[in-house]
Every structure is written in structure tokens, then in C-alpha cells.
């Protein structure tokens, strides 16, 4: 294990996929993880990605066990609050129409994912662009309301389009 402040753990890149998973990236080594999502492009239609968690059995948690809140902040219209106490995802990811010059950028933090005695909490912030409208931001919070031990993360396209995106996972040292 590297002993710097921010340790690179794992990355994944997907091209023309319906979802992208980074498995076996959370462990007892860290309590806090940083995740970067970049270069998001839907390939056949506009699409949004969302984040789900992967448990220690390798299964994606897609049930309504997440609470989530997001402030949608467009540069072109009033801000909108999105929220749910029975969500099937923990946080919003990047979204886009089919403009591959956009890409976008997002940073997320997950707290205590590997713990089997604590919920997994998340916060996130992203900047993205809709070609038809303009730049928009999101400020996200989310929690998995079970004490499942989480070992990975998945970004899935919520639309019919396959996607291209890059994910990088880092652990934050605390000593």
C-alpha cells in the first residue's frame, strides 16, 4: 500500500457499454474514497448515468434501498431539487446528449463503504453540458440504508443508449 495522502486504487474505462463497474476497489484499508468520473458520452441518444454500489458478493444493489438528494443547477433556468427515500441509486452521475466534445467532470466521496456495521454515505458534485441548453451542475448526497459491506461501484446508463465513460478510484489516507 502506498503511503501518500491520495492513493490511486483502480480505474475503468468503458466504450459502448450499458454500464461500467469498478470491482474490488473498496477494502478495510480506507474509510474514505474519492471517485472521479470523466469523458461521459452517450452513443445513440441522450442519457444520464447514475451510481450504484456493489456488495461483497459481487452483486449490484439495484433495489430501493438508497436515500438520495440532488440539487440540479442549470445555468439556463431555475434550480430544481430532486429527492427520494426509496431510490434505486445512490447519486446522479454525468449525463449528456451525444456530443463527444462535452465529457464533463464529476467528483464523488464515499464514506465507510467496506464497513459491515455502518451505512455507506456519499457526496458528489459535477459539471456537465447539454448541447441544446447549456451548462448544468449537480450537488448530490446519498446513503445506502443497509449495513452491507461494499466493495465496488457501478455507473449505469438510465436511458437506452450505451455509453462511454472513465472512472478512477482513490483512497484517502488518515494516518
Amino acid at each position: 500500500m502506498a503511503v501518500g495522502n491520495l492513493e490511486f486504487i483502480k480505474s475503468a474505462s468503458g466504450t459502448n457499454v450499458s454500464s461500467l463497474s469498478v470491482t474490488d476497489c473498496f477494502s478495510a484499508d480506507y474509510d474514505v474514497y474519492k471517485i472521479l468520473q470523466t469523458n461521459y458520452t452517450p452513443l445513440s441518444a441522450s442519457s444520464q448515468s447514475v451510481m450504484r454500489l456493489i456488495n461483497s458478493s459481487g452483486s449490484v444493489i439495484s433495489t430501493s434501498d438508497y436515500d438520495y438528494g440532488s440539487l440540479f443547477m442549470p445555468s439556463y433556468s431555475s434550480f430544481v431539487e430532486d429527492r427520494s427515500t426509496s431510490s434505486t441509486f445512490i447519486m446522479d452521475g454525468l449525463s449528456n446528449d451525444q456530443n463527444d466534445t462535452v465529457g464533463g467532470g464529476a467528483v464523488y466521496y464515499l464514506f465507510n463503504p467496506f464497513s459491515s456495521t455502518s451505512y455507506t454515505f456519499g457526496i458528489g458534485q459535477l459539471s456537465n453540458f447539454n448541447t441544446g441548453s447549456g451548462m448544468f451542475a449537480r450537488k448530490d448526497i446519498g446513503v445506502l440504508t443497509t449495513t452491507a459491506s461494499i466493495t465496488g461501484v457501478q455507473f449505469i446508463s438510465t436511458g437506452s443508449a450505451n455509453i462511454t465513460t472513465n472512472i478512477k478510484v482513490y483512497g484517502l489516507a488518515s494516518n
Binding site: 501518500g4 495522502n5 491520495l6 480505474s11 443547477m73 434550480f79 465529457g103 467532470g105 458534485q125 459539471s127
Partner: protein, 192 residues
């Protein structure tokens, strides 16, 4: 929000300093109105991280954290930035409200600070895709500080320079006059 502590260690005699790699720190030494980072290693890093602290100006109610980006060595000053910001302040005239624009000539992180003790601003900022000439450049930010009336204030938001171009520099500036204190550090986040 940024967490973690620096630590050093030796692996086979080689120090691994982690993947948050310091590019440059600039601290106040004399009255200036802009803080330019012109060697940002944009071809090395796809994601940059900046911290700002002790940001204050010579006079009251001055915005100390306005961002502009350099493209091929020229700072972009036209109304081409798109911005969205949620303000959260105890100042009764500001409160909790939205700021947004599709034609801004800068990315403003927060409203004005002051000159009295404690009346300064801090922030962290992420930059994405600066060195990718085929992609737009994106920014996310969060800030905190005291106004010139010593009201607590905070803001978070994002911005884009919706031009497929290479960004090779970052400018921080006041909206008027000079700084009288600042400390700004720029990092690259290594990808392996």
C-alpha cells in the same frame, strides 16, 4: 470536503507522496490584482485541484475569487463562460439564492469579502479536461468566508468554458483593486 492528511513513507528507499501532486503554490508578497498559474502541466493531468485560503482584498466588499482560463496563452475575457452557483449566506440581503449565467465573462466563486479580522475567503476548485483540445473545460467549486459585515457566507457551483480548446493557464482575480493576502495551491491528480 477534501479529506486526508499528508504523510511520507519509504517503499524500497523511494518516497511515494500519493497521487495529489503539487504543481505550484503562490502566496501574497505584494499588491497584485491577478494570480496567474501559467505552467499547469495540462498535458499531464486530466483533473486539476486548487485550494484558496486567506483570500482578501485591500478594500471592502471585493470578490477575491474570480476565475478566467487561458487558451494558448491568452486569457479568455469574453462572455462565453456558463455558470451556476447556489449561495448560502447569513447576510440578510443575500440569504440562500441562485446565481447563474450563460454568458459570463468570468467564473465568480462567491460574493464580496472584507478587510476586518477574519473577513476573508477560502475555496477548493476542481478543473476537468483543461489539456484536452477536443473537449470543453469544466469547473466545480465550493467556498466559504465572511462578508465585509462579518456575515458567514458559503457557495457551491460549477461552470464550463464550452469551447473545445486547450486550456494552459488559470487566472484568479479580484473584481476591483488589489489583493492584500492570499495563498493558492494548484495540484494535479495523477491517474495511475
Amino acid at each position: 470536503m477534501p479529506l486526508g492528511a499528508s504523510r511520507f513513507g519509504l517503499l524500497g528507499g523511494v518516497a511515494d507522496l500519493g497521487k495529489l501532486e503539487l504543481i505550484e503554490t503562490q502566496t501574497y508578497s505584494s499588491a497584485v490584482s491577478v494570480i496567474d498559474f501559467t505552467s499547469i502541466q495540462e498535458s499531464t493531468y486530466n483533473v486539476h485541484f486548487m485550494t484558496c485560503s486567506q483570500m482578501s482584498a485591500a478594500t471592502d466588499n471585493i470578490h477575491t475569487m474570480n476565475i478566467r482560463l487561458f487558451e494558448n496563452g491568452v486569457v479568455e475575457t469574453s462572455g462565453v463562460y456558463q455558470t451556476a452557483r447556489q449561495n448560502a449566506g447569513l447576510n440578510p440581503s443575500v440569504g440562500f439564492n441562485e446565481s447563474r449565467s450563460t454568458s459570463a465573462n468570468k467564473i465568480a466563486l462567491q460574493f464580496g469579502s472584507g478587510t476586518a479580522t477574519g473577513e476573508n475567503e477560502s475555496a477548493y476548485i476542481y478543473f476537468y479536461n483543461l489539456g484536452d483540445s477536443s473537449k470543453y473545460s469544466f469547473v466545480t467549486h465550493q467556498s466559504v468566508g465572511l462578508t465585509n459585515d462579518s456575515y458567514f457566507m458559503s457557495a457551491f457551483g460549477a461552470a464550463a468554458l464550452p469551447q473545445a480548446s486547450t486550456v494552459d493557464g488559470i487566472r484568479l482575480a479580484t473584481n476591483s483593486g488589489n489583493y492584500n493576502d492570499f495563498k493558492v495551491s494548484l495540484y494535479g491528480i495523477a491517474e495511475s
